[in-house]
Subunit: 226 residues, 2 copies
DNA sequence: TGAAAGCTTACGGCAAGCTTTCAGGTGGAG
DNA sequence: CTCCACCTGAAAGCTTGCCGTAAGCTTTCA
């Protein structure tokens, strides 16, 4: 799941990013309103965190414009402690929730979760793929009783595959699940992650396998055998 | 457990903070009514200590507004010795108890404890994590019959982990359990607390372990082995 | 059969986490 | 007031595990 953060204060921005990442989200951070506007045209986000006080104009206007364009992603706005009017204006303009600065990291994570829960997107806490069960919240993958220890990248790749059962996941879409917007990545790295994932899955009897589709990508195969 | 203190006299405020902290609470201190009002919207407090004489208007009004918004946290108000009418008005407005200045630190602590005991909030007094039992009120951790001696920070960290079984606790959320709003903290310090906690837990056969999830945080593991 | 795509292994860099040490601070006991 | 025990966290060095490049091998397809 992918979240866009638009915040010019880099300390606060980093903290937000770390926090959201800690609950398993992939995060893109931008410091300016126009960059953010461009980003949400390019990628599909599950939620957006928007600071209203930005160096290049009010975040409000950008939000307004985006809603007019048909953006339906849930938006959480950040305002200064005393920006009551901003806050109200924000909610009028199409924000779904707000948070005043300063705030606790926990609070942000909780609001984020609530936001996504309320959104139309079906938030799946557990994904079942044959005998494989992925617990997104606990970041754990199980086959029967056995838990499979996965690294961050491996988990995200598997989650992407499991969310798209019987559909092909291109390397690019897997990369999008693992890496942020501006991070570089190579096909070799994806192949390597798939390789390590396969090795771990194969040690678990009954676990599904990953099939490669030449030129297209990968697919999760319901049963371990063929 | 976390407490909000709204008190403009900084000497008195500090004294209250020290006092409450000494009985194991995490405390946020604010000097103005509006700051306090924002704070209790943002974080979940177990109790609130509110001075009625504040520079920016009466604490009473703020309390009234908050109750109207649905705040159900127990509130303890502080009044001057001769502010009888204030006191009565306070209780009418939705305070749960009062204390006249000057007062003894002990008295404050005792009232605070009583307040939380009486609270309607579903405060969990005991948390079970496998063979580990945490008595929040008595600030004690037990495995079987053996009690584990923990420092304040260690206890709070463990409490945070135990409240979130099968979920990842980021270092930030653990820090939020230990430190107040404006206190600085370092990741190293959290790691250190976890380290000491682990050492104590490991000496107790059957106690759960703490698993590190690289880049995400920590998780309490139901059984010591596995 | 040759090229492209995918697979596998090896290796090194790097960041996260762990552990130890040390010093300052606080609180309680004498 | 002094002493002592304990709690706390900064600092430093060590360990671990993740990640990704690189290189060579295998498979697939034209």
């Amino acid at each position: 799941m992918r979240v866009l953060v638009i915040e010019d204060n880099s300390d606060l921005g980093d903290s937000i990013v770390r926090n959201l990442r800690s609950i398993g989200l992939t995060v893109d951070l931008f410091g300016r309103a126009d960059e953010g506007a461009e980003a949400w045209r390019l990628a599909e986000y599950s939620a957006i965190v928007l600071d209203l006080m930005l160096p290049d104009g009010s975040g409000l206007e950008v939000l307004k414009a985006a809603r007019a364009e048909g953006l339906s992603t849930p938006v959480l706005i950040l305002t200064a402690l005393d920006g009551v009017s901003d806050r109200i204006a924000g909610l009028d303009t199409g924000a779904d929730d707000y948070l005043t600065k300063p705030f606790h990291g926990d609070e942000l994570a909780a609001r984020g979760r609530a936001l996504m829960r309320r959104s139309k997107l079906p938030i799946v806490r557990e994904i079942q793929a044959g005998s494989l069960l992925i617990d997104v919240e606990a970041r754990a993958a199980r086959v029967g009783n056995g838990e499979i220890a996965l690294s961050r990248s491996e988990f995200l790749a598997l989650e992407c595959l499991a969310r798209n059962q019987n559909r092909v996941c291109s390397k690019e879409s897997i990369a999008n699940a693992i890496y942020g917007f501006d991070e570089e990545w190579s096909e070799g790295a994806i192949e390597l992650h798939i390789h390590r994932l396969r090795r771990k899955l194969s040690q678990c009897p009954g676990a599904p396998g990953i099939k490669a589709l030449r030129g297209l990508g990968y697919m999760l195969r319901p049963t371990g055998a063929a």
